[in-house]
C-alpha cells in the first residue's frame, strides 16, 4: 500500500480522516440534542428549527461557506471572539475544514438520530417514570440506549458526508496543502494540473471505498435498531 501512494498523498488521506472524525465527534452531542427536540417536543417554531437544521442540505454549499466566513472569520462575531479569547483560528486551518464538514453533516446526522429516537416507545419512558426514574434518568437508561444504533448510524453517515465535503470547505477554509486540502480538494487540484490523472484516480478510488463502507455500516446499524421499517438510505 505504501508504495501505491506517495507520502504526500497519504497525508491527504490522513488529513481527511482527521477532519471527518473531529467533525463527527464534535457534532454528535448537538445533533442528538436537536434530534431529540425535533422527535419529542411540540412547540411553536419547531418547523422553523427543523428547516434551519436542514438548510445546509439544500442551500448551495458555497453559500454555507460564505456564511461561515462571515460568522467565524477573523472579523466575524464568533471567529473574532474565539481568536481573542481562546486563541483559536478557524479560517485557513484544518479546524475550519472540520467546522465546515460538521455544519454540512449536521442535517444528515439529525435525520438518522431522529428516526431512532422516534422509534423508542414513549410508554417505556412512562413506565420508567412510575418506577421512580427522574426525567433525566429515564432518558439516560431508556431513550439513550434504545436509540444508540441510530447514534452509531448517524456517526457513520456524518463521517461519509464529511469525507466528501467540498464547497463549504473551499470557500471557508480554502485549499491549502497540508492544512485544508482534504481528499475532494486534492482531487480538484489534481484536475487543474497536467498529468494529474493518476493521482485523481487513486484518490477517487479511496474516497469511494471509504464512503461506501461508511454508508453500508450505517444502514446495517439502523436496520438492526428499528427493524426493516427504517432506512438511512
Amino acid at each position: 500500500m505504501s508504495g501505491w501512494l506517495t507520502p504526500d498523498e497519504w497525508s491527504i488521506v490522513a488529513l481527511s480522516l482527521k477532519v471527518s472524525v473531529v467533525a463527527v465527534v464534535l457534532t454528535l452531542p448537538l445533533a442528538y440534542a436537536l434530534a431529540w427536540v425535533l422527535a419529542r417536543r411540540r412547540f411553536p417554531g419547531v418547523i422553523l428549527l427543523d428547516a434551519l437544521v436542514h438548510l445546509p442540505l439544500v442551500v448551495p454549499p458555497v453559500v454555507t461557506g460564505w456564511l461561515l466566513l462571515l460568522l467565524f472569520g477573523r472579523n466575524g462575531p464568533i471567529g473574532g471572539w474565539l481568536e481573542a479569547q481562546l486563541g483559536i483560528t478557524l479560517v485557513f486551518r484544518w479546524t475550519g475544514a472540520a467546522l465546515a464538514a460538521a455544519v454540512m453533516a449536521l442535517p444528515l446526522m439529525v435525520r438518522a438520530m431522529r428516526l431512532s429516537i422516534e422509534a423508542v416507545d414513549r410508554r417505556l419512558v412512562d413506565a420508567a417514570r412510575t418506577l421512580g426514574a427522574s426525567r433525566w434518568r429515564a432518558f439516560v437508561t431508556i431513550t439513550l440506549p434504545l436509540s444508540a444504533p441510530g447514534i452509531a448510524a448517524a456517526a457513520m453517515l456524518g463521517f461519509a458526508r464529511s469525507l466528501g465535503e467540498f464547497g463549504a470547505t473551499i470557500t471557508f477554509a480554502s485549499n491549502i496543502a497540508g492544512q485544508t486540502r482534504t481528499l475532494p480538494l486534492a482531487i480538484y487540484s489534481g484536475l487543474q494540473v497536467p498529468g494529474g490523472e493518476a493521482l485523481v484516480t487513486r484518490l477517487s478510488l479511496i474516497s469511494i471505498a471509504l464512503s461506501l463502507a461508511a454508508l453500508v455500516v450505517s444502514e446495517l446499524l439502523v436496520r438492526r435498531s428499528a427493524g426493516s421499517r427504517a432506512h438511512v438510505l
Binding site: 416507545d121 410508554r123 417505556l124 412512562d126 413506565a127 420508567a128 417514570r129 412510575t130 418506577l131 421512580g132 426514574a133 427522574s134 426525567r135 434518568r137 437508561t141 431508556i142 440506549p145 434504545l146
Partner: protein, 207 residues
Amino acid sequence: MSFEVSLDHRVGERHVALAFASDAPLTALVGASGAGKTTVLNCIAGLIRPDRGRIAVAGRTLFESATGVHLRPERRRAGYVFQDFRLFPHLRVGANLAYGERLAQLADRWITRDEVTGLLGIGHLLQRWPATLSGGEMRRVAIGRALLAAPRFLLLDEPFASLDAERAEALMALVERIRDELKIPILLVSHDRTEVERLAERVVTLG
C-alpha cells in the same frame, strides 16, 4: 381514605369524568371498554395531568388543580402494572426487575427479590430477554418489577388476563395477601366479574 379521586379530563372527542372516594383496601374500577379506565390510572400515576380535579392516595395529595399540586410520576410511587407490560426490551428480566428496586429507598422496600421471584415463579427467567417471554411470563415480570419498586399503592390494569387458571389463582392469592397484610391501597381494573367479586370490597363504575 385509600383513594380520593375526582377528575375531569378531555382528550379530543373523549371526556373522562369520575369522582369517588374509597376506604376499601382494594377498589375495583369497572366500565365498558373505551370508557377511560386506563386514562384514570394514568392520571393517578402522574402520566397524564387531568384538566381539573383532585387525586389523593392514602391521605397524600398527588394532584390538585385548585392549588396547582402535580407531583411528578417518580414522586408518586405508584406500583403500576400496565396492561401492555412495558418491559424494557434492552434489559434482561433480572435487570427489568431491578430497575425500580435500585431507585427505591432501602427503608421503603417491603418485598425482596427472592420473595417476588418465588411468588411469581419467574426465578428461571432472570437471564432471558423480554422478547423471548410468553404473554403470561411478561405479565408476571411486569408485576414483579412494580412490586420491587417499593410502591405506596398499586394500580393493576387487567393483571390476571392471559394467565392460565393456576397462575391466575396464585396471583390473586398474592394480591389478597398484599391487600390484607401490607395494607397497600390497590386499584384494580378488570373485566372479570368473579375476579372483582372475590377481591374488591368496593366497586367503582366508570361510564
